[in-house]
Symmetry: C3
Subunit: 476 residues, 3 copies
Amino acid sequence: MNTSIKSVKNRLNPNRFFSPDPAIRNIASELYAEVKDLPILSPHGHTDPGWFAENNPFSDPANLLIIPDHYVFRMLYSQGIKLEDLGIERLDGQATETDPKKIWQLFARNYYLFAGTPVGAWFDHVFHEVFGIHDTLNEKSGPLFYDSIDAALKTTEFLPRNILDRFKIELISTTDNATHTLAHHQTIRDADWEGQVIPTFRPDSVTNLLHPEWKENLHELEALVAEELDSFATYISALEQRRKFFKEMGATATDHGVETPYTHELSSNEAERIFSSALRGDVSLEDAARFSGHMLMEMARMSTEDGLVMQIHPGSYRNHNDQVMKTFGADKGADIPIQTEYTRNLHALLNKHGNNLKFKLIIFTLDETNYAREMAPLAGHYPALKLGPAWWFNDSIDGMTRFRQLTTETASIYNTVGFNDDTRALLSIPARHDLSRRVDSNYLATLVATHRIELNTAREMGKALAYDLVKSAYNL
Amino acid sequence: MNTSIKSVKNRLNPNRFFSPDPAIRNIASELYAEVKDLPILSPHGHTDPGWFAENNPFSDPANLLIIPDHYVFRMLYSQGIKLEDLGIERLDGQATETDPKKIWQLFARNYYLFAGTPVGAWFDHVFHEVFGIHDTLNEKSGPLFYDSIDAALKTTEFLPRNILDRFKIELISTTDNATHTLAHHQTIRDADWEGQVIPTFRPDSVTNLLHPEWKENLHELEALVAEELDSFATYISALEQRRKFFKEMGATATDHGVETPYTHELSSNEAERIFSSALRGDVSLEDAARFSGHMLMEMARMSTEDGLVMQIHPGSYRNHNDQVMKTFGADKGADIPIQTEYTRNLHALLNKHGNNLKFKLIIFTLDETNYAREMAPLAGHYPALKLGPAWWFNDSIDGMTRFRQLTTETASIYNTVGFNDDTRALLSIPARHDLSRRVDSNYLATLVATHRIELNTAREMGKALAYDLVKSAYNL
Amino acid sequence: MNTSIKSVKNRLNPNRFFSPDPAIRNIASELYAEVKDLPILSPHGHTDPGWFAENNPFSDPANLLIIPDHYVFRMLYSQGIKLEDLGIERLDGQATETDPKKIWQLFARNYYLFAGTPVGAWFDHVFHEVFGIHDTLNEKSGPLFYDSIDAALKTTEFLPRNILDRFKIELISTTDNATHTLAHHQTIRDADWEGQVIPTFRPDSVTNLLHPEWKENLHELEALVAEELDSFATYISALEQRRKFFKEMGATATDHGVETPYTHELSSNEAERIFSSALRGDVSLEDAARFSGHMLMEMARMSTEDGLVMQIHPGSYRNHNDQVMKTFGADKGADIPIQTEYTRNLHALLNKHGNNLKFKLIIFTLDETNYAREMAPLAGHYPALKLGPAWWFNDSIDGMTRFRQLTTETASIYNTVGFNDDTRALLSIPARHDLSRRVDSNYLATLVATHRIELNTAREMGKALAYDLVKSAYNL
């Protein structure tokens, strides 16, 4: 690694993200010391299982750190930088930038945009802690950063499996379509490697009747279960089979991305009728919404039977920018949150299964107005319900702090499930967990410093948040 | 009292809930010193007037502190503890735990769940300040806590009237159905005791046409006014008579629990038509909502005439958990907030009566998004409108702080009404007022320490919040 | 000026509005020192261009500081003070208080109501920094304040143009109806004075079909363009001509006050049909809303052509108090915020123009729930979109802090546009900019003190917020 750009002047401060008030900072630092080296449990993420199956080196800094990460390029796009210049592939095959050094340099020149953002905090951690580069990224230092990182990526230390081991990731979960063969997961299980990489069952592509490729996805499902899915009953049975398969492959959870968390049980006739209309390709918007509500009920019912933990991630208006969608496809930084409602929407599901001690439902939100108003009161009552951590845009220092401030007093930390990194940015995983552990330590330290809880209590709570609650909530 | 479990090590910190920053803490401490011993005015609560009428000793710790308090047992329930094991009575009469020591011990074992919650803060105050137990409640100390508290409850010091006196509760208001005879209040008035216990007029059970026992309640009302209530006009007149009676019995306020604060004036024909449909038992959901909106208008009109202060507590989805409702009944910790709207909903009422200086309307919310957006601007304009304090789930350290931060800059503290404890948990009343006085002192201290107001101004504001505003807002 | 009421004891603290924690305060103070003397750019405000055209002295303290300012008198009204007693003119011509000394004294007696509010902070700045009065305003000191201010207003130093120069206001924008002749602006341009006072194009009165005087306003528009506006096409062309004229007169921006930011493109037939119905005076509420959505589309399209920056200020329920509206007219402190939605409402506009680098759209809100949920994610993606500063009720210390805390992590400060004072209260302009610079300095200092950004980065960000971003966002 090129040592010429190392410098002590910008090393990360050991007390970063803690209150500067010594009465809080000192306690935060003490609490953090007890959790910072705990192994990482990553029960909800989006890394590619192929990385760990094939264990090939990553190609270069731009292709690893920028091109696949919509958290990064959306900000650059918002400032007028073309996605083509960042190497994002066009669906029409027209040329886009392919020189990773040029892409990196464009990023370096605009890195100041990430000042005060979580992406900036994660990158700083990656540069300093993962690559040992103690400098500030900017136009001038860009090439040296590139060379250092590129050189590191070519070492065995940076092979995907070695990265997991080095990061002390005890377990990581990927997110996989219901129709996925999980071939990579099989390869990993067969390999002579201790790492735990498990799948998560995500059936949206076959349960969302408005998915543009729903019919093709259904055909894939038919092929996998070797049965014609011409009725709602066979369809449900196919999903049950797939859950069984995922569970055998190590899955402990399912995940459901829906526009709203609306739940409602349909009569079998009604479910059958809507399913048939979808098969014919003429489902109405309203029927698709009702079907989605019913499928959440079905998934909850299956969870009570097979024990898979159910996760709901609602409230994103996907692909808000038609032009970006048409040119570059989905997941290009144009998913925008919408107002979300839980009290009425989850009524049917919680009434049917919320008192069932064998069932676990973890809900997330992009709409923070629900933390104190709906989510904490619901989780502070229903035994089955737990709150997922601050998600996506709110997975940040201030965002996580708000989550704790707005949920703990009503739901206690014990109805929450610790941290999810929710990322495909492999190298940022320790950065994200470290940030979360720091923020939680600082939150607990504030409770101690204001004499709301005792230090020993905070110690136990800190460990619960960093490890124990994750393990128990996700049945790991 | 068993002194063996007393210990100095965990005495409550005198600076608890204040910022640890000395620049704020010292001022907060000074401001708090000026208000901490002011008498308690409790203008909105849910204690049982029978306690003060009969003045019998409370039976035991579990029956006083746990079984009646849904704030407490909902949290235990959320962690998988059965309500039966907590001694909550089943409607079907099936056996539930009756041994108060076992119930207490189950609570003690799970007391860690309340760390960082207001319930935990209130209990700590009760244990330390009311019972003089300076230890931490847990499985081990549970029995000693039980014995100490149980012994104390058997002393005359803990007779209900003595508790009020000891707590320096200058006045306490109960909340009473419109059809209540107020016999207990009469007993109290007739007694040789200085304590002031006044009723509040709450007509929901006869104004909510969807109340499951609306017809029975109406019959009770008929009996009380000795008149057949077969028309809207006679019904309104009966309510006016009841208000008159409540006022004679000391009431200064009414209270209205509604799903939304929708207000709208119906024509007499329309009101009559809906009332008739309710008498026939076939009122529609929509008509019931419109009737509710009209009854708020009627109640406001009556308030302009009889001077009773009007309170609206909207936005709770009551009895969200059907299974708990069916098994245990209402008020079992399953009331969940919903999004609430004030600007449009209160338009009719405020337009008709909001400029009337003889009218006072105090509004509450479970939806904090309204503090800065709708409630503070409304209260910062309409002379009749005042803001009730942070309510229910938000009656907490962070919740109260948010209330001040989100309302003061627009409405000033002078359009708010001081604190309500809103509780049936008698022993926690000083804990709640103390917590509120601490939080307000800390808020004001922050304004002083950031040079937004002067210390002398803060002193006056602190007294206003702790006492003067309550007295004037509720016409005490 | 009367020096007898000067006193050193209450001078404004140089560290006001900064955190009392020295770790933050010292950095805040350093950052503030670098921006406090930067010239003021005021790209969105409501001062009267006639002041600068005619350059006459202001009449007296009450007529300058109280009577025209609904921020001030709404608070007094909320406490039962009659608007008549504050000298607010009645539409029916009935007598109201005309003695400015009496009005001032009523204000002085109630000045304590503004403790902890932004109005209080601005007034304190005006008294101390503009008039050099180092005392506290109250009943006793009221007359001396009046005399000091009144004497000052009669000096040449307080002539409007001199005020702008003294305040180092490099540029100020007024807000002007589309039908305004801009005669005052022409006078200013012709004058021998360096001050820059530019208009902003605000077409609400001719684009809002529900405006009570829409027809009259349309006739004014006809007169200005000397053409009969009997079709949607001629109407659009007239608006284009007016924009051209405003641009020639120095305008760089347009402004649109709408109830919701709904955007949607109508067919020409549909637009024509609705326009005709409005000409006939029988437009429906729904059609008016659809027309409003279409006109935002048209305005955006024109902006892509003429380069005027587009501003949208949605979400105020104007004139909520019918009685006040009927007696005193619009803008009397009775505009109340309503819940607002951006993700779906702006979909059409952003899809058509949001990727256009020649277009700039600045959005504001009165509904803070949108900061993190919708606005920051939208601005963190679309190149054309920027976030206006905390607006109106939220233009306050805590309000601005929330704005930064809730937008920076997702959108970065670089998708925001610096400060707007948005005021007709001329003397408070430096107070408002100073307050904003202090709050932003304190926010950035917090990022530095928690080791999220480096001090040098904060320096650059501070200057960007105080000056550079305003200049670039508004094409100044």
